[in-house]
Symmetry: C2
Subunit: 348 residues, 2 copies
């Protein structure tokens, strides 16, 4: 049983293939009664044009490539969801590639050459499949500038940094500033920070926001209040201990991700420090688990879905050669839960 094509439809409807094409695409006037006839045959045979052939001729595939550094990392599915929404609305398709960086045997972030080869292969593959552009979804810890080239197909980076390229980010600095402002509004003034690794860009930005807020609100500043972790739960556990052993400990802590915050909570529990009564904690990332910890962590939700949409919007603008409209980055949003209260001293 041969697959039916446009010729078969044309034959049955007693018209040329051109008419069938015009009817389907509405690219030219067709006499209503002919149109009717064609439509009926299409319906009858449940004919769907071969998108491959269409693409070849029209040189438009309506397909964009998505490269995820690791789809199992928490940020990625939400971003893809955003991308998919935009794509669906604009009749585009998504060709997905997962780099799987975290699990690739022998891969480590320092090995730029190996990364580059891997990523470049993915790009070449997508380009050879005639995607019209690429969205790259990272997991942060690396500046990707110049590592990838796409042969002048547009590429938009998100959740990672590519200094001279087009990259979509939420506003880290603003987010951490907002968190401090929130703590201040609750009455805190002795606010510590548990940062991620200091050679990472988000750490620096979030620290900027922290420092800026401290200055602006004229809060107590103590270098001993600045602890640098490694993003892992253990370091949160460790550093909370150090902080609370200070002769005059903070009443609130901004922790730069929920993983470290979870560790900090465990440390607090072991030391009999009640959160939020004796100590307030604000996390970052709004990870799924943070709503199930005890207490449920107040944390910064990342606008991942919006970033996906914005990335697609930007990409599609560049594909159609439109003016680069500079959009505001999407904002993080504080999720108020149970790990923040007023400072102890303010309670009667």
């Amino acid at each position: 049983m041969k697959k039916i094509g446009i010729k078969d439809i044309a034959l049955r409807a007693n018209v040329s293939t051109a008419i069938v094409s015009y009817v389907m695409n509405g690219t030219r006037n067709v006499k209503p009664e002919t149109k009717e006839r064609v439509l009926k045959v299409i319906e009858e045979f449940n004919y769907r044009p071969n998108a491959i052939a269409q693409s070849l001729k029209s040189r438009r595939t309506n397909t964009i490539g998505v490269i995820a550094e690791d789809i199992t990392v928490f940020n990625t599915p939400e971003i893809i969801d955003g991308i998919n929404d935009y794509a669906e609305q604009h009749d585009m398709h998504i060709l997905l590639t997962n780099l799987r960086l975290q699990k690739k045997v022998g891969y480590n972030y320092a090995d730029t050459a190996s990364y580059q080869k891997h990523a470049q292969n993915a790009v070449s593959d997508l380009v050879s499949n005639q995607v019209e552009g690429i969205v790259y979804i990272g997991v942060h810890p690396r500046d990707l500038t110049g590592l990838i080239h796409t042969n002048d197909k547009p590429i938009v980076y998100t959740y990672c940094y590519a200094q001279n390229e087009c990259s979509i980010q939420y506003n880290d600095e603003q987010a951490s500033y907002d968190a401090i402002q929130y703590l201040v509004s609750k009455g805190h003034s002795r606010i510590a920070v548990i940062s991620g690794l200091m050679d990472s860009i988000p750490s620096r930005l979030r620290f900027n926001g922290y420092y800026k807020a401290l200055t602006e609100f004229q809060l107590y500043f103590d270098p001993q209040f600045i602890k640098v972790g490694d993003w892992g739960g253990e370091s949160g556990y460790q550093l909370l201990g150090e902080l609370m052993e200070l002769p005059d400990p903070p009443t609130a802590i901004l922790v730069m991700n929920d993983l470290m915050a979870a560790g900090a909570l465990r440390a607090a529990a072991e030391r009999g420090i009640s959160i939020p009564r004796e100590l307030s904690v604000v996390g970052f990332d709004n990870r799924e688990f943070s709503a199930y910890l005890n207490p449920r962590i107040t944390t910064m939700d990342l606008p991942l879905h919006d970033m996906g949409i914005l990335a697609m919007k930007t990409l599609c603008n560049r594909i159609s050669g439109k003016e680069e409209t500079i959009e505001e980055p999407p904002l993080c949003k504080l999720i108020e839960r149970d790990s923040v209260a007023g400072p102890r001293t303010s309670i009667k």
Copy 2:
């Protein structure tokens, strides 16, 4: 600047396009020195053949479609990761569609007609893009049998049920049997269960495993030990209460997902019941958060990655018309953490 094609390469290498094609695909002998020459030109111009044109002519796209009911649900990214691994190893590509069932405005699981239209559109779209087969990733609560037709392209379902179709599942019954066996090995004999909704297939299967183990190990059976929740955290909270107020409460509970287990933990904490000293809990799903709860939950890990691989393997076999080899379903694996100990009475 015109995109260079096979003709340009042929011209520069002073051969016909056929030779270039033969060199690239190794489909015929080419004199080594000619081959050399062609290869050099290809290299020089960094030529990559247009996969769309290749597909049109060869009628093979090396692309499979993936339909996810909701990519933001925890199971999906891991399954996709498995699919991607297999695809990468076999030089296939993934065209992704996210149905986004949970968030679609107005969508609810009971509305089969609306679901069907939505899903069928996605399928038609993929088929028109000439995918060679489809993997469907569900989120469980529905029998999909007969709702979708693919015009005789093969389709493999996973993480959902489609009774008369080809569907890949882990062994729910075995998993829950194993969990009970584990509790027995720790000395428990009074084991309750908090089930999911009873009209759901996994609930039934997991209950089978529970009941089978109870019978086989000749454990105490009490209908009051069977509680039916709705998969949500609140119901876990509620039902743990009911269980512990029984005159003679269980010493261990099998909870059919980690969400309800989290609720149960909270209820236990409020009642001053120490886990695992006074009560053991085994969860299901190995959700990310379950490693961060207090205590960290012992739970059943689902072989999601393997299911993705197996789904692809099955699909590709069907694509190439190979014998349907019936493979064993991948198995769940108990992740031992801190929510299980021996029953209280066995402690001196």
